[in-house]
Symmetry: C2
């Protein structure tokens, strides 16, 4: 069953997550993809800490962005635009930190419309890098990437030195996006850090689209009292994080100059089977009187070829370089997630 | 000084280069980039062997393509189009082998206009892969890539297992292009082979553009009796190949089913300093009564950051998997090159 103990405690740096957010209090931060899941949680945390927050989001219909994610915070400046558009330059200018969180996350969509994934995950980012280079090269730049760039793990847990052999268009594009960010560091003096995120869940995630990852579908079904379907025998391993821990990683990276030019895994110190993760969410929902069965179904053929098998992150570099570590147990993360959506039921409504 | 001995003789397969070309005699072959340097040499060799040859070339003004490269061979069907355009489907249909040689090769241009490099080296190829998938997935598909995907070598000579850490936009884009080709193999049953080429020179190379590699500039200056300028002290090592050896590698790969899904270095078994390579070309030109001094100049600042240092290929996999090995000494390659351009002086004329 889901464990809550953290297997190791890294040496604490003098820049723990809470102080990172505090340190950003007086700054101007740009969050791309700021109407989406991770971006909106980040934007709200920054605004709460006293930062001046600008958001750029394309509100691509198939993605997870929603204006309502930021509706509670009137002080955030929101520009709806593709991050590759020249109008974004005005928001880039003067920002102390740029959190580049925008992107398409659907692996399946990247296979059915690969050119669109390339445009969204590489071309727009490259145009954005040109904008940053032109108007604000000194800004700190934090890019969210994905564990998917590793492809099928050869060894577990996966360190940043594991070969990057992505097995779908999304992974290929995200890897190219990473490399372009790093290149703009070495060749043009930008100050990038790449965070490779594991599976993330929590508040403000789009739960209605089946294409944005397994976890939001699990959450939706648990909250609706619907069956949660697991492919195969459900023993495939994953690690996952609550979005608050990811926000802490992002802000900590932004204030850690030693991380400039680095690629850092942001994952959990332990992993679980998908069945354990589903059971934890079902148990959290049960505390609200909801009951969902867990069902095993055969693997869909079109997913078998782009499946990566077991995955577990080695977050040792994040501990050593950033002083970051996950703080929330899987059970607490699931409970917090259920509480949020019970209070904000529109996330479960299709209108 | 340049050596001519081949350091090792690989075990011969039953598919030596000459027989590969013969085996393609009755087939229909599509060559993208077929008006350019490597593409035109390949197209002419295939046509001579009796293949039905189709060429698609965008004739991008800054690239090396020129209609005159194929002027001697009336039987080759030439379509001037971007390989990502839907009109290419007609040429893809029914081809037994697709040699995908098209691409931008300029590292410098990829840094000054990165979006264009992305469009030419990734987006068009991805659209082309979609076309191949749709109309002719069973064709053998051979992609020319570049040693540049490795970035700065950590160990020499460089095997295919060396980390791919490109250090310019062109290298990033070519790596993504490789990965997309391999993905279309695993996910969509295409039959790709990736050849990572070292520096290539020989007949039908555009000599007038300074942006297409050091070797054609060396060749032009040697043939014009102009000084050849080397950056730094000229001791940087490179390996290089005559284009005929590369044509042999391409055709051999196309008839070797064991190479489907493989990435294979196509380089020489030895390396030379750039000074040795320049001296060999100067010596070859001297046999025609031409004299060029070799000059050392400081490294241009904009190139220092994207320079990779010494490079030497390990072509062991090409030997083992394809039975391919380079056959021409550097001195012979230089002499053949000088002879060709002395007989075809328009390559040295700017009109």
């Amino acid at each position: 069953m889901a464990g809550s103990a953290l297997a190791f405690v890294p040496p604490m740096s003098d820049r723990a997550p809470v102080s990172a957010l505090a340190a950003l209090g007086g700054t101007t931060c740009l969050v791309t993809g700021g109407l989406g899941f991770i971006g909106s949680n980040l934007a709200l945390a920054l605004a709460s800490a006293g930062a001046t927050v600008r958001v750029v989001d394309a509100l691509v219909p198939e993605h997870g962005g929603d204006r309502r994610n930021l509706a509670s915070e009137a002080g955030i400046d929101v520009l709806v635009a593709d991050l590759g558009h020249h109008c974004v330059a005005e928001r880039v200018a003067g920002a102390d930190v740029i959190f580049n969180v925008a992107g398409q996350v659907s692996h399946h969509a990247s296979m059915t419309d690969p050119l669109r994934d390339l445009d969204l995950n590489v071309r727009s980012h490259l145009a954005f890098l040109e904008t940053v280079r032109r108007v604000n090269p000194a800004a700190r730049l934090v890019l969210t990437s994905t564990r998917q760039v590793y492809g099928r793990p050869e060894t577990l847990p996966v360190t940043e030195d594991h070969p990057a052999r992505p097995i779908d268009v999304n992974g290929i594009d995200k890897l190219a996006c990473e490399q372009l960010h790093l290149l703009y560091g070495t060749a043009h003096d930008l100050r990038p850090t790449i965070l490779r995120l594991t599976n993330v869940f929590g508040p403000r995630q789009n739960l209605l689209k089946d294409d944005l990852g397994a976890l939001p579908v699990f959450v939706r079904r648990a909250l609706n009292g619907e069956p949660i379907r697991l492919y195969g025998d459900g023993t495939q391993r994953r690690d996952c994080l609550h979005v608050d821990d990811v926000v802490a990683a992002l802000t900590t990276a932004a204030v850690t100059d030693a991380a400039i030019g680095a690629v850092v895994n942001i994952g959990n110190t332990e992993s679980w089977t998908l069945r354990e993760i589903a059971e934890t969410l079902v148990a959290a929902a049960a505390a609200s009187g909801l009951a969902s069965p867990i069902e095993m179904v055969p693997w869909p053929a079109e997913l078998t070829r782009i499946d990566i098998g077991d995955f577990a992150t080695d977050p040792g570099r994040a501990a050593g370089l950033l002083g970051w570590r996950p703080t929330m147990s899987l059970a607490d993360a699931a409970a917090d997630t259920v509480r949020f959506y019970r209070r904000n039921p529109w996330y479960l409504s299709s209108t």
